[in-house]
Symmetry: C2
Subunit: 334 residues, 2 copies
């Protein structure tokens, strides 16, 4: 039986969507236990009582505009902090929150703790591709700066994740660069290229360009946190912009357009779903000693459910333990 | 009368689309002359003879897979090289090519020559926003690495361009960063932030995030060439991915979806046009001594025409001369 600590108070629709997602997951998976951290009275309003769900009450919570590191240090009884401490003290095996991303990163680093020989944990998400298979990208913004050694570790961790959690054999690893030729990029890319090319434990396919990410050019894409953050946010912004433009164009297009949109409803819904990250779970803070997963602040119950399913798979496959073992046996220069 | 040197042999549909775009522009604008560089017989197949269009014949051309700097040095009679040399020797005022981007950058740097005190010319394009106004972003990939001083120059050059060419008064300048707070980012962003905030000649509005670019959060967005390249290619890839997915979803959706798409034709065409960069012209290599503009390799006649219109505006407003004057009077530390 695996125990998942859930911050019930983080996110735009907390605790309702969090608790409703927990209700769904506890029904679907008979091998997990969930501990909810937060305001007991508010949680109980939505919770379907279940023997495998318990509540740890607290009045305190971290807000979305709190300064992350300070909030973690000062709000010692915040729901997120208590949940992280439970993981540290082995009372729980994994942590889920939809709250303040920076605070969750800080809780991961400082409370749960880093894996041995991983200097810089990173954010990994499975992002959508046209064929529906998706790709794993890291770092999506846990760090503002990275070294070639960090990116090499991300390639190894990303491969672990794609293989264990998504069931992809010999995942193809690409280095995000400003061209596909091996000589491309700044010193960070050039040095990383050498490290990846000489590591036989991963299936490195060379440089990949941002233009080709959605066509599934690689299963795992590594980049520094600054670029990863910019690429992720550009994807989100472009998708939102296009869907918004289509909508206003339909609204301005008179009865023909409106009838057309009605008939196209199925296709448009399908399109929206294919762009919906919530189905593939949340962003994993990879490199800390246990699964710590951030689900989107605007997550609904379905997204929370999907993220709990993802965490369950991570626990079942022991992907984090395997990564811990891999990196603990390494020399210092990795 | 302004003279534009046009590389007739660069791009996927050269010389046809290039020459047809020239035919359109020469009709539309009575104050420009065009010199076409390339294979005379092939050019004449498409050219509508005109007293303000001349041809300089050459058999040689730079291919899309040629190594840029070597190609510029060795293929001394390539159409792109001859066109660049004409600009250097003041036989023409500006250069247009749809060919090898790297080679055009090299031709700009090494043949046309840099502006005084600009170390690193950069690529600027007007990219689409939801409201149709667009924003200017640089560097889009001329450089793999940049310093805070480069980014400061880009803010000044981008402001010049937005004001002179697009007619925006006091253009709002944003620094692309991984958060909007002033303390965000790596050392490059932090130092650039200080430089931009203390320069009263530009209207700096602070950090902007990639998610908000398409909503028109700023008129000018500055970033390093590596990030700019990744953001531009992510926009292209995401837009292509979404449109492709919508199309296949319609094709798979039976008669209802097909009828719906027929009725929605106008809206879908409008959407496609709003994402179409070709209407706003090409990418300007800003920081060299004359307008050097790259139009997309897959440009059709309309895109070539739009880019010639853009170059004409640049020449009319003397935006490059004004930038030259601005930077020649500066202290060395800029």
């Amino acid at each position: 039986m695996k125990k998942i600590a859930v911050d019930a108070m983080g996110g735009d629709y907390a605790p309702q969507s969090i608790v409703e997602g927990v209700n769904q997951a506890i029904q679907a998976f008979s091998d997990i236990e969930i501990i909810l951290y937060g305001d007991e009275a508010k949680i109980k309003k939505y919770l379907i009582e279940h023997e495998r769900v318990s509540i740890v009450h607290t009045d305190e919570k971290i807000n979305s505009d709190d300064e992350p590191t300070r909030a973690i240090r000062r709000k010692k009884n915040a729901s997120m902090v208590l949940a992280a401490r439970a993981v540290k003290q082995k009372e729980a095996d994994a942590l889920l929150s939809a709250g303040n991303t920076g605070a969750l990163l800080a809780a991961g680093f400082f409370i749960v703790g880093r894996m041995k020989s991983i200097d810089r944990p990173a954010l990994l998400s499975t992002l959508p591709t046209v064929d529906g298979k998706g790709f794993d990208m890291m770092d999506l913004g846990a760090n503002a700066e990275n070294t070639p050694q960090h990116l090499h570790q991300y390639a190894v961790m990303g491969s672990f994740y794609a293989e264990q959690v998504r069931g992809i054999k010999r995942p193809r690893v690409g280095l995000l660069n400003n061209g596909t030729e091996s000589s491309k990029g700044d010193p960070l890319r050039k040095e990383t290229y050498e490290l990846l090319a000489s590591d036989e434990a991963i299936h490195f396919i060379g440089n990949v360009e941002a233009r080709d990410l959605m066509t599934g050019v690689a299963d795992v894409v590594v980049t520094d946190g600054f670029t990863g953050n910019a690429v992720l946010k550009t994807m989100e912004g472009t998708a939102m912009g296009i869907m918004g433009q289509l909508k206003s164009s339909i609204l301005a297009g008179g009865w023909r357009a409106k009838l057309g949109a009605m008939l196209l409803k199925g296709s448009l819904r399908e399109l929206k779903q294919s762009l919906d990250y919530s189905d593939v779970g949340g962003a994993v803070l990879f490199g800390v000693a246990a699964p710590v997963v951030k689900t989107h602040g605007s997550s609904d119950a379905k997204a929370v459910y999907s993220t709990l399913r993802q965490i369950r798979t991570m626990l079942e496959t022991t992907v984090v333990e395997k990564a811990v073992a891999e990196f603990s046996g390494e020399s210092d220069d990795r």
